[in-house]
């Protein structure tokens, strides 16, 4: 596929202090480095090795990812939102590329 595209599901609004569920999905082959091609050569590893989420500058969730995670990784987690602001998501590729996405939320 072309450049990995993230999809993010964050509620548009929430009440202060509410715990919301955030879902993220990104297209990525997540080549484990264990597979071999037709000629028997190992297909080099290329995965997203880190995913992080921050809210108004403060870290919310992050994880280090290993080759066991399959293609098109899906992450779902909870976050407590004290105030309005922006969630920033980042996926870090083995080759150094960072795919990012932002989503704002209005908190009443």
């Amino acid at each position: 596929m072309a450049k990995p595209k993230p999809r993010v599901k964050v509620p548009k609004t929430a009440s202060a202090g509410e715990v919301i569920t955030i879902k993220t999905l990104i297209s990525h082959k997540m080549e484990s480095g264990q597979r071999k091609d037709k000629d028997g050569k190992t297909i080099p590893r290329q995965i997203i090795n880190k995913f992080s989420c921050e809210f108004n500058g403060a870290p919310v969730f992050s994880c280090d990812i290993d080759p066991a995670i399959s293609a098109n990784p899906y992450f779902e987690f909870s976050a407590k939102v004290p105030e309005s602001g922006t969630f920033k998501f980042a996926w870090v590729d083995d080759d150094g590329s960072i795919y990012s996405h932002e989503q704002a939320i209005e908190v009443s």
């Binding site: 879902k23 999905l25 297209s27 399959s70």
Partner: protein, 286 residues
Amino acid sequence: MLEIRLMIAAAAAATLTAVTLSPANADPVDEELVIDGVKMATHVKAPEGHPLSEIFSGWRYRTDETRALEADSFQNPGMLYVERGEEIWNAVEGTAGKSCASCHEDASESMKGVGASYPKWDADAKRPINIELRIDKCRVENMGAEPYKFDAADQKALTTYIKHQSLGTPVAVDLSQGDMRAWWEQGKETYYTRTGQLNLSCASCHELNNGNYIRADHLSQGNVNGFPTYRLKQSSMVSLHNRFRGCIRDTRADYPKAFSDQLMALEVYVTWRGTGLSVETPAVRQ
């Protein structure tokens, strides 16, 4: 002493045989598939002349987790390819400087329900035409672009995007067009013809043994209302002709070329076998 031991061994063997000889069988689940509030038809009465009385979508044969993945349009990995298809739809390609959108504008309107009526009769080529070939025809004749190689990533994404605009629409192929009837007959013959070292026909599994297990795989009726499908095995989209070739390859036979006369006829017949089921593209399967 020996006689007793022999008797015990025989009794044990008999029990073991009795257990392993009976094939595992499970009915398709009795559950509704609702995607974004729209109820999908996954269990319908078969049309006249159909060998089965009831038609089930492959969705009903999958595990709880797989079914849940398809029901959630956010989590369905196939939707990533729908998005990619939308990008391609809007991208200019070819010497004419057009994109699909240049003529067809908003796909959610112009392509609505279209996928459910394919394959159609192509009077120019005098054979059935499916979505993949229709795209190629447009590219060559109207866009001045190269036709896609079979199973090109862009072909799969664009086909998925177009068929997705028919999500929920019942499959209904018009067999009265051109020579569709003759191709339907040809496809039916292929469906019931055994091939390969394993000597299996499509019917061997999908008609005679749907509901049974072949190794760990829960056999469905082999309907194609969800194609192109996101297969967890490949972690990517799988096209219909890829699946046809794979199935025939798995009987250990030489397999026909994609979009060959044989496979186009088979597509006409197999699509008809799922008449009434909702288009589920992109379906999620094992």
